[in-house]
Symmetry: C2
């Protein structure tokens, strides 16, 4: 995957604008577990070449909730929140796998937005897409019980990791769901009693995907 | 308030674009309690001349949570969700007071977005602003207990209605907060015991604003 493949509107840019992006983009390798963005400075637009990043919010007490994941080809706008005055919230970004990203400096992207209708409208679509994911999350939090959310989360992990033997701690699952570790442990034990998962130290093995799917809806 | 005062970018439009807005805008009076938008069709951009609208989400079981309010001069983008492909969620809009709005047809606005950088970027700011409100709501739901959320809601009502004697039922408060009526009633009784409010049929009277403010943070 190269940089221009990540921009569906690449062909609508002038060659000058294309060069500006290519010349200003900084290529970075990020080790798994690195906090890439914590809202303190305006890092810039992140474009994920490969790997996996997680966007989450953090409470004053250190509790977390995962908002969404960023995968190959995804673009993260909120690490460049200074490009828009009305973006008055902070997301945190951490790498969940070793990743490669390009960083487009905020002033470069802001300048593009102000001079290209295609970029401005593409930014609208990007934001609308993240907004939709967050609205889905609100609905989950408000109307769905934790067992359903836990089931949906485990299914997502199976799909992201491409294995039914998940190396993940109860603590980390709790951080994704914005819940407490004890509550997640209790629910996982219930899943185990139902024959849906098998728990070992640091792993959750999915025994019955079908039952998990039924539970998640 | 007239239509152009609601558009901070009015002066950046061509006179042709200005006329297009003025000629296509439909002026509507809306009675209090009218569902203005329910996600089924693409109504168009709503511009609030006067009154008060409420944007909320609705569960399959009919539970509600208020996302934000729209007041004089505010613009509602999500009633024109068809203008963006990536807007994959539904908000509902209801009038909480008799209101006057202008409706800009979706195709007119979409055309403006595609031909004016100012409109495209203004739309970005609009969406970022609503996004920020929704992120604030998620943080409230996730990290704040119901007593704090109820206190914050009552304070907002005092400010919107400009009175400490609120005509509002426990049912309606529950719908705003995404909670159950019984839970809200119990919490309001606790507030009453603490001397913060006085409950009468259909009204909540705030006796101690200072205590309510302390509670809300």
């Amino acid at each position: 995957m190269n940089l221009k493949e990540c921009f569906p509107i690449w062909d609508k840019l002038t060659s000058e604008q294309q060069n500006k992006i290519l010349n200003s983009a900084i290529h970075r390798y990020i080790k798994k577990g690195t906090v890439v963005y914590n809202g303190l400075d305006c890092t810039g637009l992140l474009i994920i070449k490969s790997g996996q990043l997680r966007a989450y919010i953090l409470s004053d007490e250190g509790r977390e909730v995962t908002l969404y994941r960023l995968l190959d080809g995804d673009i993260c706008l909120f690490s460049a929140s200074c490009i828009m005055n009305s973006l008055q919230f902070t997301v945190n970004i951490i790498s969940e796998k070793d990743s490669e990203v390009w960083v487009i400096p905020p002033d470069v992207y802001k300048n593009l937005m102000q001079n290209s209708i295609a970029v401005a409208n593409y930014t609208n679509e990007l934001m609308a897409s993240r907004f939709s994911e967050v609205m889905w999350l609100i609905e989950q939090i408000m109307w769905k019980s934790l067992d359903k959310r836990l089931a949906a989360f485990l299914l997502e992990e199976v799909s992201l990791e491409n294995t039914t033997s998940l190396k993940i701690t109860h603590e980390i699952i709790a951080n994704h769901l914005g819940s407490a570790r004890e509550v997640v442990t209790r629910m996982l034990r219930y899943f185990q009693n139902e024959g849906i998962v098998k728990l070992n130290r640091g792993t959750v093995e999915i025994l019955n995907l079908e039952k998990l799917k039924q539970l998640s809806v």
